[in-house]
């Protein structure tokens, strides 16, 4: 239909539903075609049963010769059972379905893990719907689709047989079937419209539920449970209306096709009633027509469902393709990948002429030159930032709210797209910082770190090999998490709950720091991590961090750290306002000091 056909190696990003389905199936093609072949075989058996019925009713009065026919019917049907339930439904279908969904989810998650915050820019309900519902829809489709070729072949063969028996009656039946198809096609447009409305309403419900459950603490604290529930109920009512309308049109389509057999038999009776005594249309022929019409109607229904399902799966594949395509822009054509393949640095999105720095060269110096970057779609960002630091130094970024501190860190790490400027590793430009500035070169703890369901150990190691436990122990110690771990009954095997919610804010942050430290990166990047810690713990944390010969780039306001830094960068409104040691900056501008530090200064106890 819409298959471009020109792309031998189609991708989910390619045009045309069939091209994309082909791409989705790569890896399960063998099972898929075996399934198709077996369905064809089953339908051939059904065709034979019809012919047996015809002979049986023609010979029923003639006596004898009928019993072998009945035996044949029994044999063919028995064979069908064995194939359908012993091989196809219980083995091949789950295989095709789950292998497909597994491949898709692998690619989607892989893409999110590589991309520049694709998941962060997608609305919360949306990305989960793509990896959940849309993938399920596609998996179901590819397991179901093999019946269709068999149905088409059956239709052709059955119509041929019927034509040879009575061309007039068969032609009339074909006209009837075409009419039925036209009616359902007409209804289909309206059905689709309502279906879209239902999906939109469903997304709203899912979004509202996710928000309500995600922000349940705020809802409960505000005592707003009833209002939120009422809001969701309103959305549910709207969806129910849309869904019932969708179901009505789906029902009309389904029923008109489903009743094709009785209607067809009625037509056969009407057309043969006048010439019943001529003997041109026997009881056996009526038996054959009755039987084939039922299977034809089933085939027609299945073919009708095909267009509906194709539409659904096409919408699902659109969204899957968009999810895969969005993160790395137009150049992305994620090739089929194996899970074993280590995620190598992605092909650079910057001009390919810039060579990537040699990966084995340890950090001597990191330079940021003329860096301008903004949060996509906003004016908020940093402009024209220059900054250099050498191995073993401590650099602290400070400044007021909205000064762009976190933005600068994210831009340096390549988590935000660069508008201008470059980041240089030992003097060589880094083509794609996002995939270069990762462990063991660089470790990063964001302001608002995410943990995952599982144990403390799993969250810190994230798959890092640690047979004797020393990596974990050292990271936990340096991150000042050891006293907390000791107080937990299960120690490092304590389950942290979804998103680490069972930990306190301070424990969560120190776990994230331990996670970073476990990878022993050369360069530590910390974005205001100590804000949830009490002064004693924080002091200990920094003294341990600075004890080892690492390079640190941190956002902080802590006077002790600012004083310890070899270099302090004061940001204001996205630009560097001052650079130097803390004493130099204070000497140059007392105003800066007021801006950058806060009420936790000894001589500044009262609120401003």
């Amino acid at each position: 239909m819409t298959d471009t056909g020109t792309r031998a190696r189609g991708d989910i990003g390619s045009r045309g539903t069939f091209g994309r389905l082909g791409a989705v199936l790569r890896g399960s093609a063998g099972a898929y075609w075996t399934l198709t072949g077996l369905w064809v075989l089953l339908r051939a058996g059904t065709l034979a049963v019809g012919l047996l019925f015809q002979r049986l009713f023609d010979e029923i009065g003639a006596g004898g010769g009928v019993w072998p026919l009945i035996a044949w019917v029994a044999a063919i049907e028995g064979a069908r059972m064995c194939l359908q339930f012993g091989v196809m439904i219980n083995r091949l279908e789950p295989h095709v379905q789950y292998a497909t969904t597994a491949r898709l989810r692998r690619r989607l998650l892989g893409s999110a893990l590589r991309g520049r915050g694709a998941a962060a820019r997608t609305a919360p309900g949306e990305s989960l719907r793509v990896v959940g519902e849309d993938v399920d829809e596609t998996g179901f489709f590819v397991a179901w689709a093999p019946t269709n070729l068999a149905h088409w072949l059956f239709v052709v063969a059955a119509v041929t047989v019927m034509m040879r028996i009575d061309a007039l009656v068969t032609t009339a039946l074909l006209v009837l079937l075409v009419l039925i198809t036209l009616v359902t096609a007409g209804v289909h447009g309206r059905f689709l419209r309502h279906r879209r409305a239902t999906r939109a309403a469903s997304a709203e419900v899912a979004g509202a539920l996710r928000e309500a459950f995600g922000a349940v603490k705020a809802v409960q604290a505000a005592g707003a449970e009833d209002h939120v529930a009422a809001h969701i109920a309103r959305l549910n009512t709207a969806r129910a209306g849309a869904a019932v309308r969708e179901e009505l049109f789906a029902g009309v389509q389904r029923t008109v096709i489903g009743n094709a057999a009785p209607l067809g038999i009625g037509v056969v009776l009407l057309l043969t009633a006048g010439r019943a005594h001529e003997g041109t249309f026997s009881v056996g022929d009526l038996a054959l027509f009755t039987f084939y019409l039922q299977i034809l109607a089933e085939a027609l229904a299945s073919i009708g469902i095909l267009s509906v399902r194709l539409q659904r799966v096409s919408v699902a594949l659109d969204r899957i393709g968009a999810f895969l395509g969005r993160p790395s822009g137009t150049a992305s054509s994620v090739s089929a990948e194996k899970p074993e393949r280590k995620p190598e640095p992605e092909p650079p999105s910057a001009p390919a002429t810039v060579p990537a720095p040699r990966q084995d060269s340890g950090l001597r110096e990191l330079t940021v030159r003329g860096l301008t970057a903004r949060h996509p779609g906003t004016e908020h960002g940093v402009e024209d930032v220059d900054l250099t630091f050498v191995r073993g130094s401590v650099t602290v970024v400070t400044g007021g709210v909205g000064a762009g501190k976190s933005t600068l860190i994210q831009a340096v790490l390549g988590l935000l797209p660069h508008e201008r400027g470059a980041v240089l590793w030992n003097g060589e430009p880094i083509a794609d910082p996002a995939s270069f500035l990762v462990p063991p070169r660089c470790g990063y703890t964001p302001q608002d770190p995410r943990l995952f369901s599982g144990t403390l150990r799993e969250n810190i190691l994230l798959g890092l090999p640690d047979e004797d436990g020393t990596v974990l122990e050292e990271a936990v110690h340096t991150a000042v998490l050891a006293p907390d771990v000791a107080a937990m009954r299960d120690g490092v095997d304590t389950v942290v709950g979804p998103r680490g919610l069972r930990l306190s804010g301070g424990q969560l942050q120190r776990t994230a720091i331990a996670r970073m430290l476990a990878r022993r990166p050369e360069l530590l990047v910390l974005d205001d991590v100590s804000s949830a810690l009490d002064p004693t713990t924080e002091h200990l944390l920094w003294s341990r961090l600075l004890d080892s010969p690492v390079t640190v780039l941190a956002v902080s306001h802590r006077p002790a750290l600012l004083r310890a830094a070899a270099q302090v960068i004061v940001l204001g409104d996205g630009r560097v306002e001052a650079t130097g040691t803390w004493d130099e900056i204070l000497a140059a501008s007392p105003e800066t000091r007021r801006l950058a530090t806060g009420p936790d200064h000894r001589d500044d106890t009262g609120p401003a």
């Binding site: 029923i60 990896v131 995600g214 939120v228 009505l248 995620p343 909205g402 919610l501 609120p607």
Partner: protein
Amino acid sequence: MAGSPLRQLSVLIRYLRGERPSVLLLALLVPLGVGLQLVAPQMLRRFIDHTLTGSPADLLLAVAAWYLTAALGLLVVTVASDAVAARLAWRGTNRLRADLVAHCLRRPSRFYQRHPPGELLDRVDGDVTRLAAVMSALVLEVLAQLLLVAGILGALFLLDWRLALVFAPFAAGTLLLLRGLVGRAMPFVAARQASSADLLGFLEERLAGAQDLRTNGAAAHTLADLEARQDELYRRAHRAARVSVRWPATVQSLSTVSVVLALGVSVWLHDRGQLSTGTAFACLSYAMLLRRPLLAVTTRFHDLEEAAVSVRRLTELLRTDGEEEVDPAPSRTGRLPDGPLGARLDGVFFGYDPGEPVLRDVSFRLRPGERLGIVGRTGSGKSTVVRLLFGLQHPARGTVSVGGADVAGLDPRALRRRVALVTQEVQILHATLRDNLTFYDPSVDDGRVRAALEEAGLTEWCRELPDGLDTVLGTGARGMSAGQEQLLALARVFLRDPAVVLMDEPTARLDPHTERLLMPAMERLLEGRTAVVVQHRPHALGSMHRVLVLDGGTVVEHGEQTTLAADPTSRFHELLRTG
């Protein structure tokens, strides 16, 4: 048959109350449809017998016309009953959804630690939507088709009693097998669904934390983890398919037996001249017709089993009562007096886990309008005091009271109308600014919303928003700084105008500059209200009347703020010095 899917599904019946007209309409339409299907083979029999006996063409035409009319009638009846059933199912399941949402929103935080939002979404919407599909199927496909099976047996009896005699054991056998096989696949289907929900929860968390995983170089590990979970899902799905297939395979085999049986018996009777060709034909038609409902029931049965599993999981979700009752129990109907309220802890002991006490013998009393600051190290139990006063936790020993009423005896919603909690964690809804403040309460007018924003010092910010109060905030929409988020949280509290304000390190995530910007609004909020403020930075407690120093869950110091700050031997003074 305790685990019968039908038994499980019967829970749903109470959600159909109030849908009497739809139910009555279905009770009319469904038997009508069955009758129209049953009458068709009878007409075929007459047509064939009339043909073979050489009846006039008029008579044949009349039979044919009736046949066609019945077919058209069946079409109309089917469409109508489908639509009515869909309406019934959606309205019924919406009631269930409302129950579930109301229930979940009242669960304590422990509940949300066990169930990530992705999983709850799958339960409350995914499972229930599956139920909506199955509920209409339950009425139309299962009940109607079972009626049809009974009708077919009756019709065969009318054709020839010997036919019915042969088919009766078949029907009985089918029923026996139905009883035997029902529910066998349920544990396997449940295992598959659990695995599927687990996978979805995993994906939800990993997608949300994709950046953390990437910057920690954990992409390969995460994908390997995904692989393990998908393998597990495949294994369970395969096992579920192998077990689930037994039931349709059995029914279809029986159906084939019935067709062969019909042919054999009719041929035998016909050979002995005891059965007309038309009757033989009708008998085969009924046998074939029998195959359709059985097929429909079997394919639907698969869905029914899945739905029953869904229902069981939903009833489990609804049954999480009791372990930590945040729900207003009937006895907890205490009210708070109007006007200013005091607060009091009396010999309070508390621990999350037995053997790990968090608070030991903590007491203090706050007069209305008095402000208490609590300091102490991480893990000293500061936050727990606030959680107790907010009714999020209840003491193991001792009493916690607000306005003279024991918190344990208060309806939490009554408590939270008068007591507000501000924490460092601000949850912004992906919704408009207005809805973020009112939480969808339509009775709050824009004037009050604007007044609250003004008090929080957000008027300027609000004026710059493209759509004013209708601007959508949250993920994927308009971003806010941490300071603005915290001010929004304050605006939420201003809107409710509570008598008691609890603050749990509200500025912990903010830089000092932002913290200072927040101060005026926080001061306004504390003005004239009773307050308990937890801080790990003692400097921020300058405007408190009194200070409580906690260490290891016990009170080590308690007194006037100014007195303690001036006393060089006090713990508070020491904290001020080292901080």
